[in-house]
Symmetry: C2
Subunit: 133 residues, 2 copies
DNA sequence: TTCTGTACTTAGAATAAGTCTAAGTTGCGA
DNA sequence: TCGCAACTTAGACTTATTCTAAGTACAGAA
């Protein structure tokens, strides 16, 4: 009876420890693109032992490395983490700072007119605007 | 006989001090998207007095505020500065980290299929790839 | 001219995000 | 059961940036 999260970690080659499971579970269950510190705050109470910031960073880096999550950088000095690893872009509400997912198929394919020495692997669109309630 | 740079600063409402002029001049004369520290290194020898890092940061922030330059964030933890304030996007060479300008008209206009509460002000495309020499 | 107030710059202290270190803990596999 | 490698921990360290307190520059008033 391995949990869904343990299976996610295992299939990506990450050994599922209690710390890693609770961090991955938190990220999978949110769509709000938390920072490392927000992950630490949210998760530290959910473990019977004290959680080190170093473990949070180690785990986030390991999960990125393994492809379980992605880093998102929309603002200077704020790395955010995203368990949505599907092809998507981001909408930033400039009033609140909130980051929303924008599925890649909601954005028309880009045509790029670049010199031939520029070979493109991928691209990411950051959309700035406002969400009216 | 105010210089071109002093005029640029003045017309943007920034009082042209020696420190600000030399920093703005350096940025206007390069297309390599330097970090604050690279600006500091490049510019500190060009003044008869010692230059404080605080002044570099104060100046960069003032120039951004005034619209003389823009911040560019392509990587976690590295804010870069850009005197190209025309509408453009960025190509990041994933091998070297070099950032190249991509004029907006080299990128096809985006069509976005967003829910009506999302009102778009602007967007920025970051293209990842490699420049073959 | 000199005076003077405000804006600017400075060195270094403080903060914040992230990494490293050294020591202890866990837990699978012989 | 043991041994070992992987993992976690607290706290020191590093790096980027901001803040602070004290000094400097300089335009306008007198
Ligand atoms: Mn989502
Ligand atoms: Mn930082
Ligand atoms: Zn996302
Ligand atoms: Zn640019």
């Amino acid at each position: 009876m391995t949990s869904h999260i343990e299976e996610l970690l295992t299939t990506h080659g990450v050994k599922p420890t209690a710390q890693r499971a609770v961090i991955a579970e938190y990220l999978v269950g949110t769509d709000c693109h938390p920072t490392a510190d927000e992950v630490f705050q949210a998760v530290s109470t959910k473990l019977p032992v004290s959680l080190s910031r170093a473990t949070v960073y180690n785990t986030l880096n390991a999960l990125v490395e393994a492809g379980v999550i992605k880093e998102v950088v929309t603002d200077p000095g704020r790395v955010r983490y995203d368990a949505n690893v599907s092809d998507h872009h981001h909408f930033v509400d400039v009033k609140t700072g909130q980051v929303y997912d924008v599925d890649a198929h909601k954005v028309s394919a880009l045509k790029l007119d670049l010199a031939p020495e520029f070979s493109v692997n991928s691209y990411h669109v950051t959309i700035f605007g406002e969400v009216k309630k």
